[in-house]
Symmetry: C2
Subunit: 378 residues, 2 copies
């Protein structure tokens, strides 16, 4: 029986820090295989991924991941708590025994904190204060209740994993992987580590901070950025009524009027978000709502059960592990998309539709006829 | 009291033939002023106008039109019978005493034919034959019932005017203007007459076939063609459900499924229309349905009362005529668009929204801050 450690990731793009994290996850857990639940073509901050899911899965299986599956779209582009919950449930469905995650505070007792958070009331009364963002309020709440200081999004995400994990019938072992001392948006040249966001902003410097087995993939890959999709969102908002816009997920509290009005003068997505911004909403939230609008993601679709997990790539070890779990995980896994599994009404139809929009910029078919990436060594 | 002859036009673009027609309308009717009810930025065949409504109105007032008003969007982009009806009602609201129209068959008794058509049952039983286009069936019906041969769209349109006119409380005098012997899609260089569709396809040859007072306007004008809007329509269709698409005007009889399915493979609007085409639907119908989709024109908006008539331009004589009719036509006329008259819920809001999409390609604001064009001579 092979033993698996799971990681929840975006790899936007995959870099040296991710390679290090996978190796540490394997070493600290003692697992036989590493399983990655990775976002598809859209990521949690409400953005298109810089490189498509196939490029990113290929980089991962070439650098320490044995199995890469695609997180369902309605998990991948959610607020942190729902993203964490969907990711953890995916790894549980893949029968991982441990969950590894990067954190600046590896010494916290995540299992215990997770149980405490899971026991909190779902909607604390203080959350109705509209003058602060939800994230700020959550942060205050965490500090006052759990007595931990949360000044890094990775720790917030780690606590989200811990909380979701505590709610599983059989929780996974939690493996905090100490993050090398590089802030999320900074770069530390000595060790050739840089954050993914820094790399997205400095593509010319990418070669120094990504594995040798990933760089050739990136050199020929088509980049996709929000700016490429802005004309479509701008057009869409010009021709939507408030009533139609209200059907979009999380387009609430009058946001629909702000989006319609401000879009008429907006010159770019950045400009639009600045115009729509209030204290109540973070830029991430507004960026996600913009993405939901671009992709026409309605509330019912975004709150459906998140299935299936699409297999994007594997090594020989990953393939052996797939055989081991397939009997129990069969319905959850999707290997190939055909007319039936890719139909509009099929569970994977939401991703297929969103990927058609991605292909408008990327130029490459993302689903039909695409087979998982196989890496023979490993 | 000034006496007005009205013309219903698209001027896509305004050319020598239009100048000749306006002069003939004035001569044959003996009217003091010529009034034109012109399509705005979208035309009856379901296309964006090559030049915007301001360029076209300016060309018209420089070449024989005394007053140019904009046909409401839900008149301008309708099947021929509804287009004709809306145009005639507009000229009646502008208190024209005569209606002039170009025709290859000027000797028909249009007033009498109009009364006969107006008396026909609205939905003849034969129209349920789905193997032919509606136009073909209408043609057959006209031939069998009225004993006239209708092999030209101008004559069909003229009969539409005649029929709508017969239904007015006070019908206008009908002035058929013989069309110079140039087919709709042909060119006759000797007389410097060419059809508008030929000119759209041969912009380099335009100078020879348009008035000297129009050509300088065209040289600096931004052209807008369907191909420029195709990426938006393509994107829109990728992200609409059949249920949503069914709300689009005339998206009936399963067309919504054909559009969604065929759009996924389509490389251009022409390609899409070829893929969607059946015997039942003409290309004009399908092009209009595509335009309705691009502009998100729903059935309720397209079947509302067609108001207001926006004043686009006038000569001194036209201005005197406006003063004369303003008391009786006041509510119907719109001179300037402001926050109130251009609001989403105002009658002109539909045009404002559609023009925002036009501006995506054209680059020029079409409504707010735009004053009617004045030509002092004339």
């Amino acid at each position: 029986m092979l033993n698996a450690v799971g990681v929840i990731a975006e790899y936007n793009p995959f870099h040296n820090g991710h390679r290090y994290q996978l190796a540490e996850a394997r070493r600290l857990s003692g697992a036989d295989v590493t399983v990655v639940a990775m976002s598809g073509n859209y990521v949690q901050r409400g953005e298109p991924a810089l490189f498509d899911k196939w490029i990113r899965a290929q980089a991962a299986v070439a650098n320490g991941a044995d199995l890469v599956v695609e997180l369902p779209l309605n998990t991948a582009v959610q607020p942190a708590d729902r993203f964490a919950q969907g990711g953890v449930q995916a790894l549980a469905a893949l029968q991982c025994q441990a969950l590894a995650f990067g954190t600046e505070q590896p010494d916290l007792d995540y299992a215990d904190l997770g149980r405490q958070i899971a026991d909190l009331p779902a909607h604390p009364a203080g959350f109705v204060d509209y003058s602060q963002t939800y994230a700020t309020q959550l942060n205050t709440f965490y500090q006052e209740t759990l007595h931990v200081t949360l000044d890094d999004p990775n720790v917030i995400l780690a606590l989200g994993y811990a909380s979701a994990n505590a709610q599983l019938a059989q929780p996974l072992a939690l493996i905090p992987v100490p993050r090398v001392a590089v802030a999320h948006d900074a770069v530390q040249t000595r060790q050739q580590f840089a954050s993914a966001s820094w790399l997205r902003d400095h593509p010319a410097a990418m070669a120094d901070f990504v594995p040798a087995a990933a760089w050739p993939l990136y050199q020929t890959a088509q980049c996709s950025r929000w700016a490429d999709f802005w004309p479509y969102l701008h057009y869409r908002l010009l021709t939507m009524s408030p009533v139609e816009l209200r059907e979009i997920y999380q387009m609430t509290e009058g946001l629909e009027y702000r989006f319609i009005q401000q879009n008429r003068q907006a010159a770019s997505l950045t400009d639009l978000l600045k115009r729509v911004k209030t204290k109540r909403f973070t830029y991430s939230r507004l960026s996600r709502v913009s993405l939901y609008t671009l992709l026409a993601l309605h509330t019912d679709a975004m709150t459906q059960v998140a299935v299936p997990l699409r297999i994007l790539g594997f090594t020989s070890a990953g393939q052996r592990y797939l055989k081991q779990i397939r009997k129990a995980s069969g319905d959850t896994l999707l290997t190939r998309v055909n007319a039936q599994s890719g139909a509009d009404t099929a569970p994977y139809g939401l991703t297929v539709q969103a990927d058609r929009v991605y292909t408008l910029v990327n130029g490459t078919e993302q689903n039909f006829g695409r087979a998982p990436i196989r890496r023979e060594k490993g």
